[in-house]
C-alpha cells in the first residue's frame, strides 16, 4: 500500500500571534471569513463616510500579478486601495506595512494580518529580506502588492522622496506597476489624528508600466523611483483638477501647488 502524503501546516507549533506575524501566512478559514466581512464593511464605510470616488479602474489588469504604488498620508490610503480590487483578489492582495509599527503589538498584528493582509516590511533592518518577500509575492500569478515608496505617512500632505526599494524590486521584472494617487486622505485622517473625520476621498489609477528592459541595479532603481514619483505627481495634479471641477470654483494659486 502506498503511504498517504501529509502536508502538515508549517506553523503548527506556533501560537496564534506568532502565526499571524509570520509571512507568508497559512490560509485560515476563520481569518478569510473575518477579512471578507470586514472588507464589505470597509467598502461601505469608504463609500458612505468618505464618498470614495475612483477613476482609472479600467487600468487594473484582469489577471496576473501587479504592483500598486501610491502616495502615503494616512491609513485610509491602504484601505482605499484595497477597496478598489475585485473581491476575489482580497486574500491575494498584500500591502507592505512597516513591521516596526504594525507587527509589534497584538491588536495591531491582528488588524494588519487579518483585516489588511499586510506583508511585514522591515524598513530599518533586513531590507533585503523584506524585498525578497515582496519578490516571492509577485512570483505567484494573481497576487497584488501594494507599496508606499515614501516609506511612511507624510506629515505635511506633500509627496516625499521615493525610497529605492521599489526600484530594486521592479528593475528587470515584467510585472506591471500602476501608479496611483489618493487625494483627501490627509485631510480626513492625518498621522496625528486618532480617528478619521468625514471627508471626500478621490483615487486615480494610472496606466500600467513595466521595467523589464532595465538592467537591475542601483542606477535603474533610482531611475524607476524618479519616474514613478513623477507619475504620481502628474496623477495628483489631475486628481485635484478633477476634484475642483466638481466642487466649484477655487482660487488659482491652490491649483498650482
Amino acid at each position: 500500500m502506498n503511504e498517504w502524503r501529509y502536508e502538515t501546516a508549517q506553523d503548527l507549533d506556533q501560537t496564534i500571534v506568532e502565526r499571524l506575524r509570520r509571512f507568508p501566512r497559512e490560509a485560515d478559514m476563520l481569518v478569510y471569513g473575518i477579512r471578507a466581512l470586514s472588507a464589505l464593511g470597509l467598502r461601505a464605510w469608504l463609500r458612505i463616510y468618505h464618498r470614495l470616488e475612483v477613476t482609472g479602474r479600467e487600468h487594473l489588469p484582469p489577471d496576473g500579478s501587479y504592483v500598486l504604488v501610491a502616495n502615503h498620508t494616512s491609513h485610509l490610503d491602504t484601505l482605499g486601495l484595497l477597496s478598489i480590487l475585485p473581491l476575489k483578489r482580497l486574500h491575494r492582495a498584500f500591502p507592505a506595512a512597516a513591521a516596526d509599527y504594525f507587527f509589534t503589538s497584538v491588536p495591531r498584528i491582528a488588524i494588519a494580518a487579518v483585516v489588511v493582509n499586510a506583508l511585514p516590511f522591515y524598513r530599518e533592518v533586513h531590507i533585503r529580506q523584506s524585498l525578497n518577500l515582496c519578490k516571492q509575492v509577485l512570483v505567484n500569478p494573481g497576487n497584488v502588492l501594494i507599496l508606499f515608496p515614501e516609506g511612511t505617512r507624510s506629515t505635511t500632505g506633500e509627496i516625499g522622496v521615493f525610497k529605492p526599494g521599489v526600484g530594486l524590486l521592479l528593475a528587470g521584472t515584467d510585472v506591471p506597476v500602476l501608479p496611483c494617487h489618493i487625494d483627501g486622505a490627509f485631510e480626513a485622517w492625518p498621522k496625528q489624528r486618532l480617528l478619521p473625520r468625514p471627508g471626500r476621498l478621490r483615487l486615480v489609477i494610472g496606466a500600467p508600466r513595466n521595467y523589464a528592459a532595465l538592467q537591475p541595479g542601483k542606477e535603474a532603481a533610482l531611475h524607476i523611483c524618479r519616474e514613478l514619483r513623477q507619475a504620481v505627481l502628474e496623477l495628483a495634479a489631475l486628481n485635484r483638477r478633477a476634484g475642483f471641477r466638481r466642487e466649484g470654483p477655487v482660487d488659482q494659486g491652490a491649483e498650482e501647488t
Binding site: W4, Y6, E7, T8, A9, L12, D13, E18
Partner: protein
C-alpha cells in the same frame, strides 16, 4: 442546569471547593519547590498558569447551564478539528473541513433541541445515530464536486475527524442533558484530568518500563498502573457525585476513566507519531493544542454516558 440550580446543588459547591483547594495547594507546592528548594520548575508553572484559566472556564460553563456547556463543547470540537485538519493536511480541502464543521454543528443542535418523542432536552436517539448521516454527507461531498484525486484520503480523514472529535467528544456535552448533570460532568472532567496528572506523577517518580515504546516513549507502565489505582479509588472518594451508583457501576466508572483516559492519550499519540509532530498545536501554553488536552475525554465521555444510560437511563 442553570446558575440558580448550580448554586443550590451540593455537588457543584463541593467540586468548587475541591478544585479551588487543589489549585491553591498545587500553587503552594510549586512555590515551595521554586523558592524553598530552588528547583527549576519553570515549565510546570506555565502548565499551572494555564490550569488557573482552564479550571474556572470549565466550571463557569457548567455553572452557566446546559446550553453554555453544549456550545462550549462544540467550540472545543471545532477548534480541535481544526488542529487535526491542519496537522493531517485535510485543511487544504475547505469543502471537506467545512463538511465536518457542519457535522459538529448538527451534533450541537441535536444536543440542544428537545426529543420530539419524549419532550426531554436533547434528542438522544438522533444523537447516537448521527454518524450514519454525517458519513453519508461526507461521502457526497466529492460527488457534488465531481472530484476523485486524493478523495479517499480526504473522506477518511473527514470521517475520523467527525467521529473522533465531533461526535465522541460531543458526548461530554450531551451529559448536560442527563438527570445528574453536575455530578456526571464534574466527575468525568475532574477524574480524567486527575488521572492524567497521576499518570504523569507516578511515571516521573517510579517510571521504569515503557508502556508503548513506539507510540509515546515518555509513558510508563508504572505511571499507567498508578493512575489506574487512583481512578479505581476515586468513585468511592467522590461518591457524592453519583450516590445512586452501586459497587459494579463504581468499578466500571473507575475502569472507564483509568483505562479509557490512557487509551485516549495514546490514540492521539499514534496520530501525532505517524504525522511526525510533537503537539497538535500551541493554543494552550504548557499543554500543547486543544486536542492534546481533551484527548482523554474523547474516550471517557461516550463510554461513561453509555454505561450510565445502560444501568439507570440518562433521564
Amino acid at each position: 442546569m442553570s446558575p440558580n440550580a448550580a448554586l443550590q446543588s451540593d455537588v457543584f459547591r463541593l467540586y468548587l471547593l475541591i478544585v479551588g483547594a487543589l489549585l491553591v495547594t498545587a500553587g503552594g507546592v510549586l512555590a515551595v519547590l521554586t523558592w524553598g528548594l530552588k528547583k527549576n520548575v519553570q515549565q510546570v508553572w506555565v502548565t499551572y498558569r494555564a490550569w488557573l484559566i482552564m479550571a474556572p472556564a470549565v466550571i463557569g460553563c457548567i455553572f452557566a447551564g446546559r446550553e453554555a456547556m453544549v456550545v462550549a463543547c462544540a467550540l472545543l470540537a471545532i477548534f480541535g478539528m481544526k488542529e487535526f485538519a491542519r496537522a493531517t493536511s485535510l485543511y487544504h480541502d475547505w469543502w471537506m473541513t467545512g463538511g465536518v464543521y457542519l457535522g459538529i454543528v448538527a451534533a450541537t443542535v441535536v444536543s440542544l433541541v428537545a426529543d420530539p418523542f419524549s419532550g426531554q432536552p436533547g434528542w438522544f436517539g438522533l444523537f447516537t445515530t448521527l454518524p450514519v448521516y454525517a458519513i453519508a454527507f461526507i461521502l457526497i461531498i466529492p460527488i457534488l464536486r465531481n472530484r476523485t484525486q486524493g478523495q479517499l484520503q480526504a473522506i477518511s480523514l473527514a470521517i475520523v475527524g467527525f467521529i473522533y472529535i465531533g461526535w465522541m467528544f460531543g458526548h461530554l456535552g450531551f451529559l448536560a442533558n442527563s438527570n445528574h448533570p453536575y455530578g456526571y460532568l464534574l466527575y468525568v472532567i475532574f477524574s480524567v484530568e486527575l488521572n492524567d496528572v497521576a499518570a504523569f506523577t507516578f511515571g516521573k517518580l517510579v517510571g521504569r518500563h515503557q508502556l508503548r515504546s513506539h507510540i509515546s516513549p515518555n509513558k510508563t507502565w508504572e505511571g499507567a498502573l498508578g493512575a489506574l489505582a487512583v481512578s479505581m479509588a476515586l468513585p468511592w472518594v467522590l461518591g457524592f457525585s453519583f450516590p445512586h451508583f452501586g459497587p459494579v457501576q463504581r468499578v466500571l466508572t473507575g475502569l472507564i476513566v483509568g483505562i479509557g483516559g490512557q487509551l485516549g492519550d495514546l490514540s492521539i499519540s499514534v496520530i501525532k507519531r505517524d504525522l511526525g509532530i510533537k503537539d497538535m498545536g500551541a493554543t494552550i501554553p504548557g499543554h500543547g493544542g486543544i486536542l492534546d488536552r481533551i484527548d482523554s475525554l474523547i474516550f471517557v465521555g461516550p463510554l461513561f454516558l453509555h454505561m450510565v444510560n445502560y444501568f439507570y437511563g440518562l433521564r
